[in-house]
Assembly symmetry: C2
Homo-oligomer: 769 residues x 2
């Protein structure tokens, strides 16, 4: 059920880069040209190649998910590969859907599949009842091209060129048809992205006039009560239309008074597919604007009207790409290897695909309580994959997206107010909490913003929300955690992981309390932040599962990732998770030398087959020893050498990870991008530093990959990062100066970034021991 542990071969990225962007002008100020949305679309990256505006609600992308038709109520593990609806290996497209997760470890969304076809109308996507071909089309990557904010593909079966762009709330389709008296645009309300059974609860379409339809879809997927409304405008009137139902549920009350299936403006049911028929001339373009709303069809109509007037596809595309350029220009880089620029800007692009905007143009949004709220003083966002993103994505936002991060925190605080559990989000999307993964890391996001002086949210409210969240006894072992001062392994799964993460989160709450001068709460949570000690077993030197009787569990294997008190990790790697007290942790685990050796072992050990084979989706090449970059609990580990006096080993490891785990090809992500966390790791690490301790203003130093970089900061300052002697082999930092001043520590502070100026890294092939 949980987020999968996934790895992909280290590989020769340049060779795999068969969709590298062609024919683009390499203008220095056109950063969009360096983005290749195809990166990560193969295997387990779970990114999508489609068109979207930065942080846009509409993420309009081709769906190649042939596992869609499992309406038998059974779990279908294959659909896990299709979390974003697309796999590069496929050669057929089912259509273009308007909502997609980017890089997540769980499937959902995939709403409102639109597909243009010609010829005899076929409404089944894959195979018709009599065994004929479904409405899917073959395509080839040669006739497919993706840019930030733009996607195009030739649908070979129909000789239709499909082009997509999008504003924040409106998808814009442009289909160039052949001559046909039998052209169709299908709106499929059955299609969905989800592991389990068909998730539709109810769907509804109204044909408002001869070129405008509205409607909604309610689903009970991963988001248990999700409702998305739409307005779909065609550039040309359809000549006729209709729909087909795929279930036996009556849409009652017609009594034979209507022929409901054809040209009847009200279509509804649990599973329906609608079609709209056209005559087309050769190369005639039919355009579709498709607006979403979390609130109502009226909201969708408002969004449609507000965001795209007229039918100038190029104009919308250009405006959206200008928005992308604006965002991407916040970090200008030069690299030694041109491919790294593509990797970097695509990573940067991937950090801006979630959280997404989640409100109408008038500020109305659907709250967690399913009531309609209005965002006063902020913009509402959704898709919070917090177990992933608190680590580096939100810290990255504190550097280059401060306003949005402030809005995101306000969105989380609104979520908390709307929550019947009075809890901050855990993993939430589309006005639903799905409870995925452990901890309550919204507190880390809040503390990190406070530590870095970001935002104007109400800190006292934030503290109260955090304290309330951390005391919901019925949530995931918190009651036991409070009673035992650790999560007992006989009472709760993933007991050690939970204890470690709760302790860290409690430290972040203490930081919030400190910032508002609430010393009593600070004290309480500082005490709680020490509870990690209670799962450290001095006898074996590992964070270990502990029973409610106080004893440590027998039969414990620190390399096993199954049932050993950890989740998505084992004691060997996840056990190193005490970011708020790293010196103490190092001491606890035997001191710097011994800890350093442990880190070495992690990266160099030969993992036994049995541990690799536990997960069918691990490929051996993706693992560096027992280090698992595809899963987040390890993301800080390469930087931990900094706490052992062996910073050069951090420098070597992070360069190695950047070289082998990221790249410009479709397999350029070694695991789920996890809503941007994997990419945020790359962006930070490329610049030479990483936020190991979110909630502090501290960044651990690594080894920059860029040759030079300029951060154009929202505060108007400009930070230049220069390297001397940068090369593939010069992976070690010989020295760092900030504004000419030598830095002898292995960390930098947030202000040193935000004040602007100049970092100069002098690189070397030999480590500074």
């Amino acid at each position: 059920m949980f987020k999968k542990v996934l790895f992909v071969a280290g590989l020769s990225f340049l060779a795999a880069c068969n969709t590298s962007i062609d024919n683009k002008k390499n203008l220095d100020n056109n950063f969009v040209t360096y983005v290749n949305p195809m990166i990560g679309t193969s295997k387990m990256g779970h990114t999508f190649p489609g068109a979207t505006a930065p942080f846009g609600m509409v993420q309009l992308s081709p769906q190649t998910n042939f596992e869609v038709m499992h309406i038998d109520g059974k779990y279908n593990p294959k659909t896990y590969e299709y979390c974003a609806g697309y796999q590069y290996r496929d050669s057929t497209i089912l259509g273009f859907a308007h909502t997609n997760f980017s890089g997540t470890g769980h499937a959902d969304l995939g709403d409102f599949l639109v597909m243009p076809t010609t010829g005899k109308l076929v409404l089944d996507p894959i195979v018709t009842k009599d065994g004929g071909k479904g409405f899917y089309s073959r395509f080839s990557h040669e006739k497919e091209h993706a840019e930030a904010g733009y996607y195009t593909v030739d649908l070979e079966d129909y000789k239709i060129k499909a082009e997509l762009t999008a504003t924040e709330r409106v998808g814009f389709h442009q289909y160039s048809f052949p001559e046909s008296s039998d052209a169709h645009i299908i709106l499929d309300l059955v299609y969905n992205v989800y592991q389990h059974d068909n998730k539709n609860v109810w769907t509804f379409i109204r044909v408002e006039n001869d070129s405008l339809i509205t409607g909604y879809r309610q689903t009970k997927g991963w988001a248990r009560t999700k409702k998305v409304f739409f307005a779909m405008q065609f550039s040309k009137p359809f000549k006729s239309y209709g729909h087909k139902k795929y279930d036996k549920i009556l849409y009652n009350g017609f009594y034979g008074r209507f022929n409901e299936t054809k040209n009847f403006p009200e279509m509804a049911g649990k599973n329906i597919r609608a079609y709209f028929n056209f005559d087309t001339k050769a190369n005639e373009k039919i355009q579709v604007k498709f607006a979403l709303s979390p609130v109502s069809t009226q909201g969708a109509l408002n969004n449609l009207k507000e965001e795209i007037s007229g039918w100038d596809f190029e104009k919308t595309k250009n405006e959206t790409q200008a928005k992308w350029n604006q965002e991407l220009s916040k970090i200008e880089i030069e690299t030694i290897d041109p491919a790294q620029k593509e990797t970097f800007y695509t990573a940067l692009y991937h950090t801006m695909l979630s959280p997404i905007l989640y409100e109408d143009v008038d500020g109305k949004y659907r709250g967690l309580d399913q009531n309609i709220h209005e965002s006063n003083g902020f913009t509402n966002y959704t898709i919070f994959s917090l177990w992933d993103t608190y680590r580096a994505l939100h810290p990255l936002f504190n550097v280059i997206q401060q306003e949005r991060n402030n809005d995101m925190i306000k969105s989380m605080l609104a979520h908390q107010k709307e929550s019947v559990h009075n809890m901050l989000p855990i993993w939430s999307h589309y006005a639903n909490e799905n409870w995925c993964m452990i901890g309550y890391h919204a507190t880390s996001v809040i503390a990190d913003a406070i530590a870095k002086g970001v935002g104007n949210f109400d800190k006292k409210q934030a503290l109260k929300a955090s304290v309330t969240t951390a005391n919901v006894r019925y949530f995931d072992g918190i009651g036991d955690y409070l009673d035992y001062q650790y999560v007992p392994d006989d009472k709760s799964h993933s007991s050690v992981s939970k204890t470690l993460e709760y302790a860290y989160d409690d430290w972040t709450i203490a930081q919030i309390a400190k910032s508002v001068g609430d010393t009593e709460t600070e004290k309480i949570f500082l005490e709680r932040s020490e509870y990690y000690n209670n799962v450290f077993n001095p006898k074996n030197g590992y964070m270990s599962p502990r029973m409610s009787d106080g004893s440590f569990r027998k039969n414990f294997d620190p390399l096993d990732t199954h049932g050993q008190g950890f989740i998505e990790g084992n004691a060997w790697n996840y056990g190193l998770y005490v970011p708020h007290q790293l010196d103490k942790m190092v001491a606890l685990m035997g001191g710097k030398e011994r800890f350093s050796q442990h880190l070495d072992s992690l990266f160099t050990m030969e993992l036994e087959d049995k541990f690799i084979d536990q997960h069918e989706d691990i490929t051996r090449d993706g693992i560096i020893g027992n280090y698992v970059h595809g899963n987040e609990p390890g993301h800080h580990i390469p930087y931990l050498y900094n706490w052992t006096g062996k910073a050069y080993k951090t420098q070597a490891r992070v360069r190695m990870i950047m070289d082998t785990m990221y790249g410009p090809g479709v397999e350029g992500l070694c695991g789920n991008d996890d809503a941007g966390q994997m990419s945020a790791w790359y962006v930070f690490s490329s610049l030479g530093f990483y936020p190991v301790i979110p909630g502090s203003d501290h960044y651990a130093l690594g080894s920059p990959l860029v040759k030079n970089a300029i951060l154009n900061l929202e505060n108007g300052n400009r930070l230049t990062i220069k390297t001397l002697n940068q090369s593939k082999n010069n992976i070690y930092v010989k020295s760092l100066t900030i504004n000419g001043k030598q830095i002898d520590r292995n960390y930098i502070l947030h202000n040193e970034i935000m004040n602007g100026g100049e970092f100069i890294f002098e690189m070397s092939a030999t480590p500074k021991l």
Copy 2:
């Protein structure tokens, strides 16, 4: 599928009146004491005995519907008897539901069943999985008592006294428990009133705190997309709570992090039942306030707060009964037989149970487009059973509920704006159009209000809405009606009924056009209003089914109600439906004498068994010859003698119908009350006149049943109706004077009512020939 044709024995009502209201003070100014909500609760009256405010959204009533559990997807004809959830013959109660139709010919609603129990918790209503008894309770009518705005019953199995009252938007329960450490209040979200399969789409509960819950229910019943929100406040905190699911649909995402079934504040699923546990002392009262909203849980919370503060059950009951008294006092009557007073005031009560208020206290409501609208300048109403109610209910409103009727028309105009078909309501409820029965009679309601000078709605908008509605070609044969100037029988079912009703409705549209000076539209629709002529077959003298080739159908039986071009009637009775051109119709059918004989035959003929047996729910005693009072197409027929020079026969027939088809007992309605139409017929007829031609200011004179009556009109005027020599046998009107002036016509005009003054009917045992 359609509204059923139903009749109940003529019967001795006084003997059947075993629930006549006891122990009430017979105060002349306390009209509530004359209301017996039990009337019509037996067999096919389809009224409910529960508590409601006048035109209230909450109609809180006991449910004895044991046919509820048909979740096998099959049509269950037995549930038709339970359109209002209650049958007097039953001896068990399942609980109390908050929405109920009053007297309709189709089942729906029955939302939010609440049931208090004690002892071992049982969550199945009828029988448990292991064959044990469900949570229902036995009760006896001796320990049951119903008043306008109040209902009480002893739940014998639990020794709980249940009392119910309600404001417009909030139900108020008061349960007197025995001493128990195991007391429960069950909230059943599975229970529903509907003929077909389980209609739930999704249900949701949030436990906001230890005594407040909110949630919603979405159903796809007769209303295809119905969503009702609630807020439920207990007077005392529950000690624990939980729920059980009745389907396999996953409420995903808990991952074992919670025990979802007990004390977990979020409950959801397709079919769930929740329970709330209490300790109770002997005779301890636990109260529940249960607010509804068509908009949101926030709306329900606002309604709860606004309408009932505190926990004074008696106060709410008294205030609601004061509202009833205010409404009922609009017509004060004296009768010869005291039982007639109960029959009359209960009929008057039944005219105020629908349409119902359908908006929150802040004026927000769910529109037909499922968007949330705000009623500006009117109060929004729903439940429009217009094929029934345009005849006498809305005309009655034009006398005693002018403000509400104006609001209802504005609600219909809002409906039209929100309709994707751009149509005025046909049979609509809860933001849905269910298309039941034929015609577009909202135009009649509008024309009648205009003819009577009622309301301030926009007449031009009303005309446009009417014209648009009457030209929706795909609706129910309208296209053919326009092309052929009748509805061809080979193209459409109920072809003759449709032609007659469309022609009448078109005449009402012509009246609206006339009122705004649109002579062109008036002309068009006057022409259309003549189309009834095109289905008259001079060869047989009947309105007859006509084919698209112009010929009349062969094999036609004017007495058969099945497949002869009529619905809920036959050519013999329904064929007399040309209310707007009665003189012409009489001439067409052979002149006054011949038509009068036809009417005689209608009331006196011996109907062959085969025609009676066509419907299993017809009982022979309920029919007067071939006259069928239980169905609306006949309601004007007794008055038609007025157009043949034999008014005395009208007088005899209407007195006979009032005597035999209405009465004070539980069987006091001879068929569905049809959302108040049957009762409105009685109220008008009791006063001595009836609106045979809605859309005109004309009332046909009948024979008053009352001894005296005073109409306290909204315009401040007062109309006194007096009779001289009134008695059971003096059924003929010898003379009528209005304000002392002799009336020699057999009709009166609306102004003669609204101007106030005095009508004096002199009665006689001998007809005035």
